[in-house]
């Protein structure tokens, strides 16, 4: 009985850690950037016309390199 609870706990924790790690990697690498943008636009600017995936990444590249964007 107890063993099962512990096993469940371990499974749930590792699942949660795995999901969290996956989220972190997706977020930090910029993989989910477009989905994030769509979600954000939907929630905060519902009447704005969203950019296509291609347009979004073009704009993202321009924005990233406009000004001081790199260190030593």
């Amino acid at each position: 009985m107890r063993d099962r609870t512990i096993m469940q706990l371990i499974r749930r924790t590792s699942l949660r850690c795995g999901t969290r790690l996956h989220d972190i990697i997706k977020g930090a690498s910029g993989l989910s950037a477009y989905e994030q943008y769509l979600g954000h636009l939907h929630a905060r600017h519902p009447d704005a016309l969203p950019m296509s995936r291609e347009e979004f990444f073009r704009a993202d590249v321009e924005a990233r390199w406009d000004g001081v964007r790199r260190c030593c």
């Binding site: 930090a28 690498s29 990444f57």
Partner: protein, 684 residues
């Protein structure tokens, strides 16, 4: 429970640090350093950074950030914390923390390691986080703008000048590192050249074929890069092909200049952006791999804790432990440059003030960890080998035979056979006098990797490490040229309006050419300098970088003083005081030391004297004139850096004094409070 873990971490950390500090005479395991680093970072993040955010900055998670208030879906966008972390780390991650610690290892492993750890936890991470916070409270204003608002016109100008000057020196020194790594090495050159078309291919892939699939594109890119490393080996074996890639220093310097110019005028998506992705993933991957390899292999450091060169007679660069270890480590502990990224871009993405600690403090911790890895890789090598790779032959007697004799007499035994065997193993013609830090880091990394992942692959690992550094350096090189170009265009636009248009091609070409000429000059003189050039340029870069950190910390301190938080002003004030002492001492010695190896002016007059009396060898006499001019320019720059730093500090003190007396001050430019709409961020 959390407290218990905290205490455990503190105890282990204290144990590891004292272990490193007390352990003398017998070799120390790299694991000690790794443990000390991880524990110190944890304590710094968990306690000191948390205390600063809560007490000193009074971070308020209910306060709407500019990203939320000014949300326009373009540059102001509330972004999840890990995405901001990724953006921010990619922008601050550069080759500096790989080079500085490698050079500073000439003093032994102890001073550099301690400064990387203490300097980052109490200085660098604090600077990044505080500036990020202050800029977030000011609608993402840049460091230059904040300096103008809080200190006045002079402070603003100083910050702008500092940025451009650092850019020029930084690019020159990085160019020199990459030239020295490729000099007469067909394998390294072929691999580095191959990274250019690979990056362009990825650029087209991400733009046209699969937009935004960064992991996919990076996986393809990194596979191709690995192939380029192996392919470089084939080129090296080929009797005809290898001659195409076998060049001397000046030829490669011209190539780097041409490359920088073309890369700076190409659209960013074609070369710069894709390579930036590749280099960030490569850096993270390699550092994690290194950490795992060190955990498995548990290597012992062969470098003593302190070497005899703390007296200032070091062959890699001259100057005593104080202040030059701090100037040399530079970006691995405190980097003024990060203040430019922490203000301006990143604050416009921060969704809640609660994320400031992770993004500001956390990403600098990771950057400092990279510096620790570089230090371990350098001190794992036999000290004799380390010095033979990193010193110019001129500093060790002129020939490889004289060099090994000098080093052995100094107590760092090494033989020419040993160096030749090592060079053969890594697939290079020679490893003597490969100054700049990249080859020695590559040998260190290769020896760690090959001992864990296969000893026969030493040459592959070596060139992988060279490629890894070159990818970073080339990214900084063209991004830096581009940044410099924007600044020059901004300035020229004041003279004649069309020159300020960033997309007008004649202006783009003119300003890029000006910037490339600026750093190209220092690079070229560095390449023809028989002492290797790094010994002059790196300290100059360190002084410039620490000066900019001083400006950033002075702005932060002025704001703390003005806003009634004077009793906490030491949080940025103490690092500022220390940097002011270190930078001034180093600049002073570089200017006025009578030792021609340290003082720029003494070096110039020594050269002039030798030239006049005819004791210089013919090849040295031919370049002596150029070197003399360069040394005097370096002296003028150093004097200017010193002056700028003190103008800003005095300005800060003036404002602090006025605040103390209750005299009227320009009001703090913080944006007014507005409650956040993000309920979860407010914790409600």
């Amino acid at each position: 429970m959390k407290k218990l873990i905290g205490i455990a971490v503190a105890v282990i950390g204290a144990f590891a640090v004292s272990g490193i500090a007390i352990n003398r005479g017998e070799p120390i395991n790299a694991l000690w350093i790794l443990t000390a680093a991880v524990c110190l970072y944890t304590i710094g993040y968990r306690f000191y950074a948390a205390w600063i955010t809560a007490r000193v900055l009074s971070i308020d998670a209910t306060r709407a950030t500019p990203a939320e208030r000014l949300d326009n879906g373009r540059d102001f966008v509330p972004t999840p914390r890990w995405v901001v972390f990724g953006h921010h780390f990619a922008a601050i991650a550069g080759p500096g923390p790989l080079i500085g610690p490698t050079l500073a290892a000439q003093f032994g492993y102890l001073p550099g390691t301690l400064w990387i750890l203490i300097g980052s936890v109490l200085g660098g991470c604090v600077q990044d986080m505080v500036i990020l916070f202050l800029s977030t409270r000011r609608n993402g204003r840049s460091l230059g703008q904040m300096a103008r608002d809080e200190l006045g016109q002079v402070g603003g100008l100083a910050a702008q000048f500092g940025t451009l000057a650092i850019m020029i020196i930084l690019i020159a020194v990085l160019g020199l590192v990459v030239v020295n790594a490729m000099k007469h090495s067909p394998w390294a050159s072929a691999t580095v050249f191959a990274t250019i078309p690979i990056a362009m291919l990825i650029g087209f892939y991400m733009r046209g074929i699969r937009p935004g699939r960064v992991l996919e594109a990076s996986a393809i890119g990194i596979t191709l890069l690995l192939f380029a490393v192996v392919g470089g080996g084939w080129v090296d074996q080929h009797p005809v092909l290898r001659t195409w890639f076998d060049h001397d220093g000046p030829a490669l310097a011209w190539f780097v200049m041409g490359y920088g110019f073309i890369a700076a005028i190409l659209p960013v998506w074609m070369l710069l952006a894709p390579r930036d992705y590749l280099s960030t993933f490569l850096k993270l991957g390699t550092v994690v791999l290194l950490a795992i390899a060190i955990l498995i292999m548990q290597p012992e450091l062969k470098m003593p804790a302190l070497t005899r060169f703390i007296d200032g007679t070091g062959p890699i660069f001259s100057g005593k432990l104080f202040p030059f270890v701090f100037i040399t480590i530079a970006c691995g502990a405190v980097s003024g440059f990060h203040a430019l990224i922490s203000s301006g871009t990143t604050p416009k993405l921060i969704r809640t003030e609660a994320d400031v600690r992770l993004v500001g403090y956390g990403s600098m911790m990771l950057e400092s960890f990279v510096a620790i890895m570089a230090m371990i890789a350098a001190t794992l090598l036999d000290p004799g080998v380390y010095f033979a790779i990193n010193s110019s032959l001129a500093a060790l007697g002129g020939t490889p035979e004289a060099a090994v004799a000098t080093l052995t007499a100094w107590g760092f035994p090494v033989t020419t056979d040993q160096m030749q065997t090592l060079a053969n193993e890594v697939g290079e013609a020679t490893l003597f006098a490969r100054t700049g830090g990249a080859p020695s880091l590559a040998v260190g990394m290769a020896s760690i990797f090959s001992s864990v992942f296969g000893a026969r692959l030493l040459a592959i690992w070596y060139h992988f490490a060279i490629m890894f550094e070159a990818v970073f350096i080339l990214t900084t090189l063209d991004a830096g040229t581009r940044v410099g170009r924007f600044m020059v265009q901004d300035a020229l636009g004041q003279l004649w309006e069309p020159l300020g248009r960033t997309s007008w091609y004649p202006s783009v070409i003119l300003s890029s050419a000006l910037v490339v000429t600026g750093w190209g000059y220092f690079l070229y003189v560095g390449v023809i300098d028989p002492f290797g050039g790094i010994n002059i340029l790196w300290p100059l870069f360190g002084i410039a970088n620490q000066m900019l950190a001083g400006i950033a910390l002075a702005v932060a301190t002025a704001i703390l003083l003005k806003s009634g938080r004077a009793r906490y002003a030491w949080v940025t004030g103490l690092p500022l005081a220390w940097l002011a002492v270190v930078t001034s001492a180093a600049a002073w010695q570089k200017l006025f030391s009578l030792d021609p190896k340290i003082g720029f002016l003494a070096g110039a007059s020594d050269l002039a004297g030798n030239l006049a009396s005819g004791v210089l060898a013919l090849d040295k006499a031919a370049v002596a004139g150029k070197l003399m001019v360069n040394l005097r320019i370096d002296a003028a720059l150093t004097a200017l850096f010193l002056l700028v730093l003190w103008i800003v500090i005095l300005d800060m003190l003036r404002i602090g004094w006025r605040a103390y007396r209750g005299a009227p001050l320009a009001s703090a430019a913080e944006a007014p409070y507005q409650r956040t709409q993000y309920a979860e961020a407010a914790g409600a």
